[in-house]
């Protein structure tokens, strides 16, 4: 059973996203809403990781070796300025999107193994990841015209 691998993928993706939220928040301290909400959402990711841990352990015993090229690296550091903010938020968006699709996949597997506890975690966390995507989209929509058309 390969569920443990996807749980591992999701767990690491949540950890990476938490780290990226924190670094983007610190890099854009002059945008107080970004700084504040990035820290808030990093904590949401931390909580997701914590809630995944017991399931990763539970299923790891039945797992064969990890397949090749399982993990991806989407984040290579922060940028500065108006377009820099936009690109950093876009990185976060793509990382959150990876988490989002992982929740879907893990949720399907949870149905397959009839694990109600895991399904409960997926349902809650998936909703919170959707909010992250919606917030990033909202903030980028606001910033884009000024950064791409107006600013010199």
């Amino acid at each position: 059973m390969h569920l443990a691998h996807y749980l591992g993928l999701l767990h690491r993706a949540q950890g990476n996203l938490a780290e990226a939220f924190r670094r983007v928040g610190e890099a854009h301290g002059d945008e107080p809403d970004v700084a504040l909400l990035c820290e808030q959402q990093a904590q949401v990711c931390d909580r997701h990781s914590e809630r995944l841990s017991p399931f990763a352990e539970r299923y790891s015993e039945e797992a064969p070796d990890e397949p090749d090229r399982l993990h991806s690296e989407l984040f290579r550091g922060t940028r500065t300025g108006g377009i820099g903010l936009l690109r950093d938020l876009q990185d976060l968006y793509l990382m959150a999107a990876e988490c989002d699709i992982c929740w879907t996949v893990v949720g399907q597997a949870a149905q397959g193994v009839r694990d109600r506890d895991l399904l409960g975690v997926v349902t809650t966390c998936e909703r919170e990841t959707t909010i992250q995507l919606q917030w990033l989209r909202t903030r980028m929509k606001q910033a884009a015209p000024q950064a791409l058309v107006v600013a010199g």
Partner: protein, 775 residues
């Protein structure tokens, strides 16, 4: 009676369901009697948000006093002490009477053509080229008239096409609008001031009504001193007059409103004090709300909020067992963290208990400024006019047709740029022209050192339109002298949707012009045109603008189509919506439990309360609101700034009853200024004693943003929290002798995720004694 000594005057007790007795308050210039007044001119107050009707006394072409209008539905003749004395500022010798322009680093007097040419020349250059609209920011007020805001909104949205429009209403009333939209689908106060006459309980949520709306407080006090008085709950970290009057006072730790409300709602649900029939029929979201609040038993709430669990239970019983509950909400909630979420919980309380839309069961999400309601309605705060939804293509199309412009011109691609973001763009340099009307950000915005730095940047072209040389005007490139209340005609609307006409009583001083005339002049000089090449803004005076606004408001919640200037000159005060189906206006909204949440009608498709993430039309439709209200739930989160070893106390800012805003007017009225001439800091004795601070000592209050030097007052606030009034700036101090005293030197740049209202009520500070600071 001395109205400085007793701001609320004599009691006129009355019982439930009775008419509030009349009491006419009046003040005339020294030596002037009624017989000497040349004429009385109809108006209403603009020194607070209550909307008290009054008549202006004119003597020899000058304003010489005021008298409350007995027949008006709002005040029954009473006036706030600020109104009794504040009119004297109109006659102040330091009024701006000529335009000023910056030459060689100094502001020098000039004529209107020269000043306006500078503004227009810069505007034309900035508009030239793609994205030119994005170089403009308009930062207005809660103190102009409806006609002025609407003209500004059309000029900005259809003339220039910029989303960068907001007002200082963002600082005072944005959360009111956001919470009403979130719960009920659109802006618009459900209640009526007459709910005070009928209620059996009043809950004041972060609302020091005794200082902010004294006439509303008089009405409450008169009920309290009559037969069968209403019970009263006050939530405020300070021992305000409201807190002293209340039967239950919860002096909660600043920044914990959401935890308290979750706990109170939990009690309401657990004790079965909610109306399950109303909830089932008229609301969405009960199960989620019940789930979230279940984690807030009284003991946990007591711990977070720093109050006794038994008091939380008493408060819950007071609001849970009332039969006609009236709630009012203001800055203690709006300017705190989780502002929208906590204000929505008050809406939830009324929805759970079915306490909405009938006499006594009222809800006021208050406004801070006299005409803030109009800033919101007309879209001068960035919203689309007429409470339209920026995300609804049909609403956009209505405006494009009304104004006969290409809908691509009207900014609609994202939520409007809120004030704090406008200032950020100005700081970054992409906004290059900032036009400030009737407000004083150099005293009223958070983190003043930053605000002054932005205004002083020579690359930012700053236009300030005001009646005095304010702290902000001192830093402007062009200063335009404006006329004010009593010197111009227009309408405005108060918290309970009452519209008053304020007529011109006297000419403005010197060359000063009404704000409307200034905006119209700019539109003419910029030659804004509609799609057929006709002038976009063809109006010449306030009544024409009012008629145009009526067309814009038709069919929307704030429908003015049944009003005319003539009608407003008749019965005093008409509540919108007023149209053919309700020609005398509408006292209460949502009387049938049907809310404005229909997807085609609502003002927003909703936002996530913790992040402000916008939901899409499809997501909204999937909830099938069908006229039901939303019960929003949110967990408590601590404020972005909490006490530390270095800054162990929490600062909250607020008002004194004798001053308004940044004292531009009240600081020039001798009686008011003498009553509250300087800033101070209030400390609890337990916080003051270890610091060696006694009453009257000069102390320093410091935050990571700055330090102020003010005198200490011991008492009046809970332990761990200090209070500084926000009114005091520097205009009346010689520039060489200015010592920092503005509360906003200390406050932080942070805001609520949904309403974008800055957090003025929660900042970490330390207080230290000043050596030799004892007189």
């Amino acid at each position: 009676m001395d109205r400085i000594e007793n701001p609320w005057g004599e009691r006129t007790p009355y019982g439930p369901g009775e008419r509030w007795p009349e009491r006419v308050d009046q003040h005339l210039a020294d030596g002037l009697g009624d017989a000497g007044v040349d004429r009385w001119v109809r108006s209403a107050s603009i020194l607070h948000s209550n909307g008290d009707a009054l008549d202006i006394a004119v003597k020899d072409g000058r304003i010489a006093g005021v008298r409350g209008r007995a027949t008006d539905r709002v005040n029954h003749g009473r006036l706030d002490p600020k109104d009794l004395y504040g009119w004297q500022a109109n006659n102040s010798p330091d009024r701006l009477t000529r335009p000023l322009v910056r030459d060689g680093g100094r502001l020098v007097e000039t004529d209107w053509d020269t000043a306006m040419d500078r503004v227009v020349e810069r505007s034309r250059a900035l508009l030239d080229g793609p994205g030119g609209w994005g170089h403009f920011g308009f930062y207005t007020s809660g103190q102009l008239f409806l006609e002025e805001y609407y003209t500004l909104a059309v000029l900005g949205k259809a003339g220039i096409g910029t989303p960068h429009m907001d007002g200082n209403t963002r600082l005072c009333t944005a959360t009111s609008a956001a919470a009403l939209k979130a719960s009920f689908g659109t802006d618009g106060q459900p209640g009526s001031y007459t709910d005070v006459d009928h209620c059996d309980a009043i809950a004041l949520w972060g609302h020091n009504v005794a200082a902010t709306q004294t006439v509303l407080w008089m009405r409450m006090l008169d009920r309290r001193s009559g037969p069968n008085p209403p019970a009263m709950l006050a939530v405020d970290p300070r021992t305000t007059p409201v807190a002293r009057e209340a039967d239950v006072h919860l002096a909660i730790r600043s920044g914990t409103n959401q935890a308290l409300l979750n706990g109170l709602l939990r009690q309401i649900i657990h004790k079965g004090w909610y109306d399950s029939g109303y909830v089932a029929e008229h609301t969405i979201g009960f199960d989620e709300l019940a789930g979230v609040v279940d984690a807030y038993p009284p003991a946990r709430v007591a711990e977070i909020c720093g109050v006794a669990a038994a008091d939380v239970e008493r408060a819950a019983e007071l609001i849970g067992t009332a039969e006609r509950l009236l709630s009012t909400v203001l800055q203690g909630f709006y300017q705190s963290n989780q502002a929208t979420a906590a204000s929505c919980q008050v809406n939830n309380l009324h929805l759970l208990r079915g306490m909405i839309g009938r006499p006594g069961a009222g809800l006021y999400q208050m406004n801070g400024q006299p005409t803030a309601q109009n800033t919101r309605e007309t879209g001068a705060d960035g919203d689309l006019p007429g409470m339209r939804n920026w995300n609804n293509p049909h609403h956009l199309q209505q405006l494009a047709e009304l104004w006969n412009v290409d809908e691509m011109t009207i900014p609609h691609w994202s939520p409007p740029t809120h004030a704090m973001q406008i200032w950020r763009y100005a700081e970054q340099g992409s906004i290059k022209l900032l036009w400030i009307s009737a407000t004083n950000p150099a005293v009223s915005l958070p983190e003043l050192d930053r605000v002054r730095r932005i205004l002083a940047n020579r690359d930012l072209f700053v236009v300030v339109q005001d009646i005095f040389l304010t702290e902000s005007a001192e830093l402007a490139d062009v200063v335009l002298p404006a006329a004010t209340w009593g010197e111009k005609t227009g309408t405005f609307t108060n918290v309970d949707r009452t519209v008053h006409l304020s007529e011109k009583a006297v000419d403005p001083p010197g060359e000063a012009r009404s704000d409307l005339d200034i905006f119209l002049d700019y539109a003419r000089r910029m030659d804004f045109r509609d799609r057929d090449g006709r002038p976009l803004i063809p109006w010449t005076g306030p009544e024409e603008v009012f008629e145009a606004w009526k067309a814009c408001s038709a069919g929307r919640p704030c429908d003015y189509t049944g009003m005319t200037y003539e009608k407003l000159r008749g019965a005093s005060g008409i509540q919108w919506p007023c149209h053919a189906g309700a020609p005398e206006g509408t006292e209460r909204l949502y009387t049938g439990g049907v809310f404005n949440t229909d997807p085609d009608y609502c003002e927003t498709y909703g936002q996530d309360l913790s992040t402000g993430a916008e939901f899409s039309a499809d997501e909204y439709r999937a909830k099938e609101p069908a006229g039901r209200a939303f019960l929003h739930a949110a967990d408590y989160r601590p404020s972005p700034e909490v006490p530390s070893d270095e800054y162990p106390l929490l600062l909250t800012t607020g008002r004194t009853v004798y001053q308004f805003h940044t004292r531009t007017k009240t600081g020039r009225a001798p009686e008011l200024n003498a009553a509250a001439p300087d800033a101070w800091v209030e400390l609890h004795p337990a916080d003051a004693e270890p610091l060696g601070i006694a009453d009257g000592d000069l102390v320093e209050v410091s935050s990571p943003r700055g330090t102020i030097r003010v005198h200490a007052r011991i008492g009046g606030v809970r332990s761990g929290v200090v209070f500084v009034p926000f009114h005091y700036g520097y205009f009346d101090v010689d520039p060489d002798k200015r010592v920092p005293r503005a509360a906003n030197e200390l406050t932080l740049t942070a805001w609520d995720a949904v309403s974008k209202q800055p957090i003025y009520k929660v900042a970490a500070v330390r207080v230290t004694a000043v050596p030799d600071g004892r007189e």
